[in-house]
Symmetry: C3
Subunit: 134 residues, 3 copies
Amino acid sequence: MQKLSIRTNRRCDIIDITTAIKNYLVEIKAHTGLLSVHCPHTTAGITINENADPDVRKDLLKYLGQAVPENDGYAHSEGNSDAHIKSTLVNCSQILIVEDGKLMLGQWQGVFFMEFDGPREREVWLKYLPDGKR
Amino acid sequence: MQKLSIRTNRRCDIIDITTAIKNYLVEIKAHTGLLSVHCPHTTAGITINENADPDVRKDLLKYLGQAVPENDGYAHSEGNSDAHIKSTLVNCSQILIVEDGKLMLGQWQGVFFMEFDGPREREVWLKYLPDGKR
Amino acid sequence: MQKLSIRTNRRCDIIDITTAIKNYLVEIKAHTGLLSVHCPHTTAGITINENADPDVRKDLLKYLGQAVPENDGYAHSEGNSDAHIKSTLVNCSQILIVEDGKLMLGQWQGVFFMEFDGPREREVWLKYLPDGKR
């Protein structure tokens, strides 16, 4: 398992980690299998979405901010319940297909770390499971 | 990896792909492992939900349409930010258990392709990872 | 594959299943691989979130109850469309990394069964896929 280090810059942020993932697959000489991209934090998540127009990411963060208000009479005293809720809605991991050494993403897909309670130093865990038949 | 072709018929649509997945597992003589069902598009997703009453799917699409309005002052100029947001909320893939050649789903579970910016020709990617111990 | 039995106590409930999952990994002498935690029901789900302050879980259930009302002119006649919608939003499964026999979760992460149409007797399916290279 590999740990990536990420620095987020705002309370809510979205960081493209696609290249870091591809570099890891090259480094370990991955061939064919599945890759887990896991966020070990409970106020952040991992999503796959458009890698072209940055406005898509902006709209996604804005939507989540409106749908899950920062203050809404939450019981949790740390004041970041919205971030925990967003983490469950977005999911804390993604599983990706690796085929012939290539990360199988659609033409417009990138992998993103979503921060909901930053700025912070964060980690992403990568675990590659090769096809056992090879 | 296998690519399924799917034709969606409306802007927002939901297509049962359970049988196509089961047929693929028979074709490759899958025994025991995990199966990734991956949508390579950023304005669609894959979900698992009830396969019996079609009204459940109708209610799900209607809910998403209300929760994520098509027009809401989005920055993304293509006019389909709602579809990208729904894709993140629903998720672009599902991982399923395969045991003794059988797709392990609960009695009422089916696997569905969710279209949020159709009608279009779409793909679903299937990747089976067998248990390496066998 | 292992089936866990779970008893939920309210219509909407959240049950910590982390210890049961860890016990299963010990029992099967898991070493390194991926673990699927699958909910075979269409009105429940599996999430990973904070395992410390129970108020986080309370806030999460409350949020989902407000975001997806129990009655909202749904077409599905069984009266539990809200539960089906929540199941898609939360997701019916999680894939976890297992490394050197250890369930790889962040310091504050636990695995939770989310009930949206209880109280009921429920199941969670666990399937471990070992690293084929070992």
